[in-house]
């Protein structure tokens, strides 16, 4: 098999938006892709800085998202505020372990995995590491794929609040925590999208 060559060695550059391979010599001053008109760069500019900035934003927002209540319910059983973790515990105690597990995965496991995985990717890229490059690239793709499932709790709270509108029997209203939680999902998705996985394979002197 022929050895693999990097695009730079062959005078090529990739448009990461549309996947077009462009001859560097044909790239004009404005550095736009001839096919889709997106800006083309050898590596996403400020990739690690942007990834880190969005990652920190996501981690900071994750604190109020968990401490503040996401929903307020009132009804025959009185009034109560529930947080994400509180809601999971309630399902667990009520015997709905499957729903508890699903919400736990979407709202706790996925965001925490993303924080750890993006942190690991950033650290190893900054350290110019050659450790497990293939697996780290797969890790990046997993992070990209699982990210948006965290939106699940936002959907559940919104639907519950829309449906539970019976004064006497029960009513539900969203609370501030869910706004923070939605912001966490957006910030961590932007963090993953800012990361340029090609940095895992680059050898800097």
């Amino acid at each position: 098999m022929m050895p693999l060559r990097q695009s730079l060695e062959l005078g090529l550059i990739l448009c990461r938006t549309c996947g077009h391979a462009v001859l560097r010599a044909r790239l004009e001053v404005n550095r736009r892709c001839p096919r889709c008109q997106s800006r083309i760069e050898h590596r996403t500019p400020l990739s690690t800085e942007m990834t880190l900035a969005w990652l920190i934003a996501g981690m900071v927002l994750y604190i109020p998202a968990n401490l503040l209540p996401v929903m307020h319910t009132s009804g025959l059983l009185g009034e109560s505020d529930s947080t994400i973790l509180g809601g999971i515990l309630e399902f667990w105690r009520g015997g709905d372990w499957d729903i508890a597990l699903l919400i736990f995965i979407a709202s706790v496991a996925v965001p925490l995995t993303k924080f750890l995985a993006i942190g690991l990717l950033l650290f190893t890229v900054r350290a110019n590491s050659r450790w497990e490059q293939r697996q780290r690239t797969t890790l990046y793709r997993i992070v990209e794929f699982i990210g948006y499932w965290s939106m699940l709790d936002v959907v559940v709270v919104a639907l519950t609040s829309a449906l539970m509108q019976f004064q006497a029997l029960g009513a539900a209203e969203p609370r501030a925590g869910i706004g923070f939680f939605c912001a966490v999902v957006v910030a961590t998705m932007l963090s993953a999208l800012s990361f340029d996985p090609r940095l895992i394979w680059d050898r800097r002197a």
């Binding site: 990461r16 549309c18 699940l152 959907v155 019976f166 029997l169 969203p174 609370r175 939680f181 939605c182």
Partner: protein, 200 residues
């Protein structure tokens, strides 16, 4: 000379080979998908987009879930869900939800329809480059499947207390998820070759 493929994830350069139905080209070094067989032809894709548009309309015009207690009834679909989050600055979440489950899927369907309709007639769609660019960029933000799972969770969650029923909308959301997934599996890179006069 065969076209060149460059791996999105590790920048390795390959010479493309013709793919057969169901074939997926994978990067030797990092396992990223380099290219897929187109899967469906323009007419097939157009039919899928048409189906998606109808399903999207049903999902948004009929209730996905409904509850009836002592004569009082409440209903919910994407729009009811978005509206219930419009309170003070929780509206951030309302905007997030509206974008990912309504605006983006609607835009995807409309833009794909635009591109495919012209391609079907053998014309280059006006604004082809920006339309395709936006289709590429929108992909990670389309969350119809998350809405479907959320609706299912809500059913199980509320079924303990109130008689909750799934409306026709939930079937439309489920089918829409499948159709959008099928359209998503068609290789976006090869969408570029559907319009005449485009450099590939």
């Amino acid at each position: 000379m065969s076209p060149i493929l460059i791996c999105r994830d590790c920048d390795a350069v390959y010479r493309a080979i013709p793919l057969n139905r169901g074939d997926v080209a994978v990067c030797r070094r990092c396992d990223a998908v380099l290219a897929r067989h187109f899967g469906v032809d323009i007419e097939g894709a157009l039919a899928l987009v048409g189906a998606a548009a109808i399903l999207f309309a049903i999902a948004n015009l009929t209730p996905v879930l409904s509850i009836e207690v002592a004569g009082a009834q409440t209903q919910a679909n994407v729009w009811f869900a978005v509206r219930s989050l419009q309170q003070g600055w929780i509206s951030v979440a309302a905007m997030g939800l509206a974008f990912t489950t309504f605006v983006i899927p609607a835009a995807q369907i409309a833009l794909l329809f635009w591109v495919l309709l012209f391609a079907r007639c053998g014309l280059r769609p006006p604004g082809f480059a920006p339309v395709m660019r936006h289709l590429h960029r929108m992909r990670p933000w389309s969350m119809t499947e998350v809405f479907l799972l959320g609706a299912l969770v809500a059913i199980v969650k509320l079924a303990n207390w109130v008689p909750i029923a799934a409306g026709p909308g939930i079937w439309a959301v489920a089918a829409l998820t499948a159709v959008l997934a099928l359209l998503g599996r068609c290789d976006p890179a090869s969408w570029w070759s559907i319009a005449p006069g485009v450099e590939t």
